[in-house]
Each structure stands twice: as structure tokens, then as C-alpha cells.
């Protein structure tokens, strides 16, 4: 279970760690727009490579990250197979009508070159989106995130919600685990291999009640502590974690502004001037 928590509360000391929260959050949001806006492999592939470089430069705990990457790859592959089962002909819609059948199992289930292309681009897009968020989450601390969100004019109470939620996820996950273990010692079977779907659902509900009560019992403590420190008195807020912009921040600022302009250009041209293809497909 501990393997599945990637939140770091102490700032690291690599290049990406040392950027301000403002830079991290803004770059991340623009990169998300960049990933979402297109299915074009020519745009996604460079970002994919950059995100791998970014991940390596962060010097993460590889044992943790490896587990994460394996799980995500398997889940996404499964998703791709389900996508294919839902509509085997999806490629012809995306790649301009062609339909080159490679393998044909039955009349409905066939694999065409276009579908294969679409599904692999989709897979890379999903993995890129995962890699970017992995780099983001590994490089940021909850309070830097709140500071970054505040810099894009999100009301500071919402920023606080983000930072407190991030701060308490490890605690709540630990409680979840404790409750699960103590239920197991009382003889409740929670192993997915041994229990049926119905009984697992029932047991999930059994964990739920004590988890809700312990989680919401904290609310009083935390809010009293915050009130005592004068939270919510002022209209604005400054953040202790936010330091002055370094040289690297200025470079990143230039990059994300250019990227933002490019995204705006791309989205406008894609929507105003209809293309004859929905996604770039080299083998038409």
C-alpha cells in the first residue's frame, strides 16, 4: 500500500524541484491542454521523451516508481483492448475512411491498420499524460501546489482545500489500511481471489463507516488549529513555500508562454479550418 503513495512533503534539491510552485503549476496546466488538444503523434512524442528526461532528472525512488509504471501500463493496455472490443472500426473514423484489415477474427471483430494506429497513438497519449503528471507530482509539495494555484487567481480557500487534501491522503490511506487489517483479523475475507463481488462490495461498505467517522473526526482539530492561527481573516494570502523567481523560472516562463500561444493557435486553426484528417496518419 505504501508503494502507491507518491506525495512528497519535503522539497527536493534537483533542478525541477527548485522551481517555484507558480512555474510548476502553470507549466503543468499548459502541458495538460497541450496533451488534450491533439491526437497528433508528432506533437505528443517530443513531450513523451521530455517527460522521461524530466523523470530521470528528478532522481526518484525507482522502486516506488517502477511499481507505478507497471500498473499503469497494464491498466492502459487493458483499456485499449476494451476500446477495440467496443468499436473495432474506430480507426477508419479517425484516419480518414480507409480500412486495411490486417487480422479478421469474426465479421465484427477485426483489426485494421488504422485502428491499430489510432489505438497506439491513444496509448502513447495516455502514457504521456501519466508521465507528465508523475513528474509534476514528484516535483511538487502540497503547499507549493496551493501557492501555484493561488497565482492563477484561484480563491485561496480552494487552494487550501487542495493542499490539505494532499496532506491528508497518506494519513487516510493509513487509516484505511489499519481498518482493513483489523477487519481481517476478525475473520472478514477481503482477498479478491477468495471473496465474490457481492461480498467484497459488502466488506468495502464495512470499512467505510469507521473510515468516515475517523476521517471527519479530524475536522474539528484541524479547523480549530487553523482558526487559532488566524486563518481566513485576510482577503489575500502569501505562501511561505514560495521563494523568489530564479533564472530557471524565467526560462520556463518564456517556454510556457510560447507553448500557450502555440496551443491557442493550434486549437483555433483546428476548429476554424476543418482538416481532411482527424489525426495524422502517415500511410494513407
Amino acid at each position: 500500500m505504501e508503494n502507491r503513495l507518491l506525495i512528497n512533503l519535503i522539497p527536493g534539491d534537483t533542478f525541477l524541484h527548485r522551481l517555484t510552485g507558480k512555474t510548476k503549476v502553470r507549466t503543468f496546466i499548459i502541458l495538460l491542454v497541450y496533451i488534450i488538444m491533439s491526437f497528433d503523434i508528432r506533437l505528443i512524442m517530443p513531450l513523451f521523451i521530455l517527460s522521461i528526461i524530466g523523470l530521470v532528472s528528478l532522481r526518484p525512488n525507482w522502486k516506488k516508481v517502477k511499481y507505478f509504471i507497471i500498473v499503469i501500463t497494464v491498466v492502459n493496455l487493458l483499456n485499449i483492448v476494451l476500446f477495440w472490443l467496443a468499436d473495432p472500426d474506430i480507426g477508419s473514423y479517425w484516419c480518414g475512411g480507409g480500412n486495411t484489415v490486417l487480422v479478421s477474427l469474426t465479421e465484427r471483430l477485426f483489426l485494421s491498420a488504422e485502428t491499430l494506429w489510432y489505438l497506439s497513438v491513444r496509448f502513447i497519449k495516455m502514457i504521456t499524460s501519466f508521465m507528465v503528471s508523475l513528474v509534476f507530482i514528484l516535483s511538487i509539495t502540497p503547499s507549493e501546489m496551493a501557492a501555484g494555484l493561488y497565482s492563477i487567481k484561484v480563491p485561496y480557500k480552494i487552494c487550501t482545500i487542495f493542499s490539505i487534501a494532499f496532506r491528508y491522503i497518506p494519513d487516510i490511506a493509513r487509516d484505511y489500511n489499519n481498518i482493513k487489517v483489523s477487519l481481517q483479523t476478525r475473520g472478514v475475507e477481503l482477498d479478491p481471489k477468495k471473496a465474490s463481488l457481492k461480498s467484497r462490495l459488502k466488506q468495502n461498505a464495512l470499512i467505510l463507516v469507521p473510515l468516515i467517522i475517523t476521517s471527519f473526526e479530524r475536522v474539528g482539530n484541524i479547523s480549530n488549529a487553523m482558526d487559532l492561527r488566524g486563518y481566513g481573516r485576510g482577503k489575500t494570502r502569501t505562501y511561505y513555500s514560495e521563494h523568489e523567481e530564479l533564472k530557471a523560472d524565467k526560462v520556463f516562463k518564456a517556454i510556457y508562454i510560447i507553448l500557450l500561444l502555440f496551443c491557442a493557435y493550434w486549437i483555433i486553426t483546428q476548429n476554424i479550418m476543418p482538416q481532411d484528417f482527424r489525426m495524422w496518419y502517415p500511410f494513407v
Binding site: I72, M126, F162, A165, I169
Partner: protein, 195 residues
């Protein structure tokens, strides 16, 4: 009208902020650990209980934010890519479920009657149909273009799973919370007694 708006927004003091944050964290944890996958990117999860609790205590807008933030965080630490259409869809569902105080089910004061349970079940069905049948597909088209078949299949699976969880687990939990809060409600304050 003003009163309705006030119930919708909730009171934004420190306690609300912290409760929403804890709700969002709980949502993230349940989404990642307590889910049983049923279809692509769709899981049978008990996380949908969070807006019921936050909504019953603080109102619909806090429930919306808890859901939206919770889903965003779950995506961030769970790493199945970003699907803001789903985050917003879940937020809208949270809002509709969180309407509890509006029709008189005051969990904080221990009031939850069978009639409220029926209305609650109806809002669950309507909320799921609206959030995943209308909002999410619309946003999917706007954000990602196309893929409607899959979104509808996902929405259908997710909607049914959510409704089942909300009704089967939600109603007993609401009863339990109401009973818990109703303890000591039969006591009358000294001053009130004299009047």
C-alpha cells in the same frame, strides 16, 4: 430565495474548508484503493459516498468542490491520465446529491425520514442520468472530440454502479449518521425551558 441560495452555497468558514478537504482526500483514497474495475476507466467505487456526507453536512456547493477536487487528486495520484470531463461530471453529480438539506433532510440535526430517503433515491437516479448522460458526453466532445460510443458505454456502466452504491450503501449510512447526530437532541437548554 435568499435562504435557498444560502443553503446551496453553504457557510464558508474554516470548518467547511477543512471538511471539504478531508472529503476530497477520502474521495481520492477510496477511488484508488476501494474500487473494483468494471469497465474502461470505470470502477465500482464507494467514493461516491463522500458527496453524500459533505452535502448532508455543508450543502451542495461544498459537495461539488469535494467531488471535483477529489477526482482531480485521484487522477493525479492514480495516474490513469486526465479526464476533466469526468471530474466535472462527478462534481455535478456531487452537487445534485448534495441537495439533501434543500428538501429538509437535516442530517446535522438528526432528521432523516423515509420520505427523504425516497427523494434521495430519486435525486441519485436523476443526478447520474444528468451528470453522465448529458454533462460528461458534452464535455467529452468539447475537450477530446468524438469517442461518444465509448463515453456512453462508460457513462452507462459508471452511472449504474454509482446509483447502486449511492442507494444501497448511502441510505443506511445517512440513517446511521442521522441517528448519531440525533443523540441528545431531546435535551432542552435551560433558558428555552423557562420560556
Amino acid at each position: 430565495m435568499n435562504k435557498v441560495l444560502k443553503t446551496l452555497l453553504g457557510v464558508w468558514n474554516t470548518k467547511t474548508v477543512v471538511a471539504i478537504a478531508i472529503g476530497a482526500a477520502l474521495f481520492g483514497v477510496l477511488m484508488n484503493f476501494g474500487g473494483i474495475p468494471i469497465y474502461t476507466n470505470t470502477r465500482l467505487t464507494t467514493a461516491m459516498i463522500v458527496p453524500v456526507i459533505v452535502g448532508s453536512m455543508f450543502g451542495p456547493v461544498p459537495a461539488f468542490i469535494a467531488c471535483f477536487v477529489g477526482n482531480t487528486i485521484a487522477d493525479l495520484i492514480g495516474g490513469w491520465g486526465y479526464w476533466f470531463d469526468w471530474s466535472i461530471g462527478n462534481g455535478v453529480l456531487g452537487f445534485i446529491i448534495g441537495l439533501l438539506p434543500l428538501y429538509g433532510a437535516k442530517i446535522n440535526e438528526g432528521i432523516f425520514k423515509p420520505l427523504h430517503a425516497v427523494i434521495y433515491a430519486i435525486t441519485c437516479v436523476v443526478g447520474n442520468a444528468f451528470a453522465f448522460g448529458v454533462i460528461t458526453p458534452l464535455l467529452t466532445v468539447a475537450f477530446y472530440g468524438g469517442e461518444l460510443t465509448i463515453t456512453f458505454l462508460q457513462a452507462f456502466a459508471g452511472g449504474i454502479a454509482n446509483t447502486a452504491v449511492l442507494v444501497i450503501i448511502g441510505i443506511p449510512i445517512l440513517y446511521a449518521l442521522a441517528r448519531r447526530n440525533a443523540r441528545g437532541r431531546n435535551l432542552v437548554m435551560e433558558e428555552e425551558k423557562e420560556e
